[in-house]
């Protein structure tokens, strides 16, 4: 309780409130521009937080992230283009409302639902994580190794239609993490005689390259200019109280779902919003208007994707295993200051952890206030031409990675990671597992080796209860989609002998989720929904 009060005092200081405000405004600006994703933005801007204290930096990044997740709904509602992948479900009911001349009302509902979802998610995080953290404190090396394996298998199985590629991506991340001095014996390995690699490949330069440079390279290739938005008459922005009261139960249910989905490694707002939308529709008495501009559908999608933001931070802060790529960037913001997320952070710096939780409760309130103040203007942001931005993103990526350690080698690593990321996008390899692999790599190796040493060189620690359960869950995570895919293939096309993995079954907001919604907008949402947190390929609806 004392920690909570100290945290409350810290987070309510004017500096931290200002950082949250600046972050939210910046995040809304970014999220409203299709193609600029929340993950890319916080990755590229991460070096700007190094000069700040850890809480200020995290407040700024969380503000940007939350603001961008909300504002992704603006182009989704007005243009039928999700600003961020999390908003793919928003257009199911948001855009039809625009077609009915209710764009203003849709924007207000989206804002209020986002704030509501963020608030519920923040409160759930605050209430549940201390209990989970106490449980996590009992984890030993074996448990952490198997937890890392489970996180990787889960995120790989969520990789849309490409489970093998997702696994490869995660394994490459683990491999990159082994470069440099090994964590147990201090032996240098995999450096190919390059002295600068002794400290390993910096996680932040790799992250900036994968999400900043790679995305910009794709934009150079596509050479996209946004379709100029035809002027839309927003109509009234007012939402009647009776309508709001009707939306609250669905928003509450959807927020809880969004939070729960966000807690699972590899998932995020996009899958959470589809499930939230789908569940609210399933429970509704009158389903006929869903997908045709039903405010309940819009509110469900928006509350779920914003509630998933605090959800993704639960495994990040409790276990040190990021829930998604955006959470991985936040880990970067903490590790730069010598803080290592995990159970020890919870027991060692409880005031900081509680401050982060409280910030997640305050940010939605700030977001609603800022959002209401500028609600008539956000639509204009969608018209900003982005071709000027991408060269600046490249320069910012290089300079940002240089600034980490004043090292041009880091800048070169960023370029290399950017090229790798570009080829991953072209080859259909999801980037998120690589980042997760890179972060959990040292945790996994230390856990694996310590567990083996403790057991005198035997691997029977795998048979201990928690590691065994995690191993079974990992196998099920991989096995179930494969089995389902095999069954479907044998049912549909007995002649097809080609091996294809089963990732599609559980793809993020991809085929299955959208197919289930049956809202008449599935094809569009399939195109929009991509990676969990950083990969909107909005070009599907853009013109060259």
């Amino acid at each position: 309780m004392n920690d909570l009060l100290i945290a409350l005092e810290a987070v309510l200081s004017w500096q931290h409130l200002l950082f949250m405000l600046v972050g939210v405004v910046g995040g809304i600006a970014v999220g409203a521009i299709p193609g600029l994703t929340a993950t890319m933005t916080i990755a590229v801007l991460l070096p700007f937080t190094f000069a700040l204290n850890p809480l200020s930096g995290v407040c700024l990044l969380l503000g940007i992230y939350s603001g961008a997740v909300y504002a992704g709904s603006v182009p989704a509602i007005l243009l039928r283009i999700p600003g961020t992948p999390s908003s793919a479900a928003t257009l199911l009911d948001g855009y039809p409302m625009t077609l009915k001349g209710k764009a203003g009302q849709a924007l207000t509902i989206s804002l209020l639902a986002s704030g509501f979802g963020g608030l519920i998610g923040g409160v759930l995080l605050l209430a549940l994580t201390p209990v989970l953290a106490r449980f996590a404190l009992s984890f030993g090396p074996a448990e952490f190794f198997m937890l890392a394996v489970f996180a990787l298998t889960l995120i790989a199985s969520m990789s849309e239609g490409a489970m093998v590629k997702g696994l490869i991506s995660g394994i490459v991340g683990l491999l990159i993490a082994t470069v440099g001095v090994d964590p147990i014996n201090g032996v240098t390995r995999m450096t190919f005689g390059i002295g600068d690699l002794q400290a390993g490949l910096g996680f932040i330069p790799v992250l900036i390259g994968l999400f900043g440079v790679a995305e910009a390279l794709v934009r150079f290739e596509k050479h996209i200019r946004l379709r100029s938005a035809s002027p839309v008459s927003p109509g009234s922005f007012r939402v009647p109280g009776s309508l709001l009261r009707r939306l609250v139960p669905g928003m509450t249910y959807s927020s809880v779902i969004g939070f729960g989905v966000g807690v699972l490694p590899g998932t995020g707002g996009d899958i959470g919003s589809f499930i939230g939308h789908n569940e609210v529709k399933r429970l509704a008495r009158d389903k006929s208007m869903f997908g045709k501009g039903d405010p309940r559908g819009l509110a469900a999608a928006e509350s779920a994707n914003n509630a998933s933001v605090p959800g993704t931070l639960a495994p990040t802060l409790i276990l040190g295993i990021p829930g998604n790529s955006a959470a991985a960037v936040l880990i970067g913001a903490l590790t730069v200051h010598g803080l290592r997320p995990g159970p020890e952070l919870f027991s060692g710096s409880p005031d900081l952890v509680y401050s982060v939780f409280l910030a997640l409760v305050i940010i939605p309130v700030i977001m609603v206030l800022v959002g209401l103040a500028g609600i008539r203007s956000w639509g204009q942001i969608t018209r900003i031409p982005t071709q000027y931005l991408w060269p600046c993103v490249l320069a910012l990526s290089v300079v940002g990675s240089f600034a980490v350690q004043s090292s041009l080698v880091d800048a070169m690593i960023t370029v290399g990671a950017g090229v790798l990321g570009y080829f991953m996008i072209k080859g259909g390899f999801p980037q998120a597992p690589l980042v997760i692999g890179l972060i959990v790599g040292p945790l996994a190796e230390t856990g694996f080796r310590r567990a083996t040493i403790i057991n005198g060189g035997s691997y029977d620690w795998v048979l201990h209860p928690v590691p065994m359960i995690l191993l079974i869950m990992s196998l099920l995570t991989l096995g179930i989609p494969l089995l389902r895919s095999w069954k479907r293939r044998t049912a549909n096309s007995p002649a097809d002998q080609s091996i294809n993995d089963g990732g599609t079954d559980s793809s993020l907001g991809g085929t299955d989720n959208t197919a289930d919604t049956d809202d008449g907008a599935t094809a569009d949402s399939d195109n929009f929904s991509k990676d969990d947190d950083g990969d909107s390929r909005t070009e599907n609806t853009q013109t060259k």
Binding site: L174, R189, F192, L217, H223, P391, C392, A403, I425, I453
Partner: protein, 156 residues
């Protein structure tokens, strides 16, 4: 359709070959590493070897897969990406000697040209404005010194 599928298959096989090479190189690099004399420790090389073995197995699986990925860029689009990467490499290489501002202004001007911007005032204003603001921000607000050339010495 056939062509797209066979192309993606070729893409998968190419990726698999590269990953196999990475896996084999890791095995070779780590095979010589010893443990710390503790027989119970898999050693510095044991864990990377395990990871590399899994990578090799998955690479083999990848060769059997079809589909996935995006279409290859057209020659012109591909050249634009190659141009952007070349610009980036040159940018990082010369930043130490030319200084941050000069190299960034040149990089941004050329990258904007590559992006199809032909508006000359903007080709000057965006690079100069962006690089100067960023330099002053890093120098004055964050206390980070970026590579210094003649211009940097003049303004700070």
């Amino acid at each position: 359709m056939e062509t797209t599928e066979s192309r993606s298959r070729i893409g998968n096989i190419t990726a698999a070959v590269v990953l196999l090479l990475v896996g084999v190189t890791t095995l070779i690099q780590t095979a010589e590493l010893d443990g710390n004399g503790d027989a119970s420790d898999p050693g510095s090389g044991g864990y990377p070897m395990l990871i590399a073995t899994v990578l090799i197995a998955l690479s083999v699986l990848l060769t059997l897969q079809r589909g996935g990925g995006e279409a290859l860029p057209s020659r012109f689009d591909g050249l634009r990406v190659i141009g952007a990467v070349a610009l980036l490499l040159i940018y990082v290489s010369v930043m130490g000697s030319l200084g941050y501002i000069t190299s960034t202004v040149l990089f941004l001007a050329l990258a904007l040209l590559l992006m199809g911007i032909r508006n000359i005032p903007l080709l000057v204003v965006v690079p100069v404005g962006f690089s100067t603001v960023l330099f002053l921000m890093f120098y004055n607000v964050f206390g980070v010194s970026l590579p210094r050339g003649i211009l940097e010495r003049l303004i700070s």
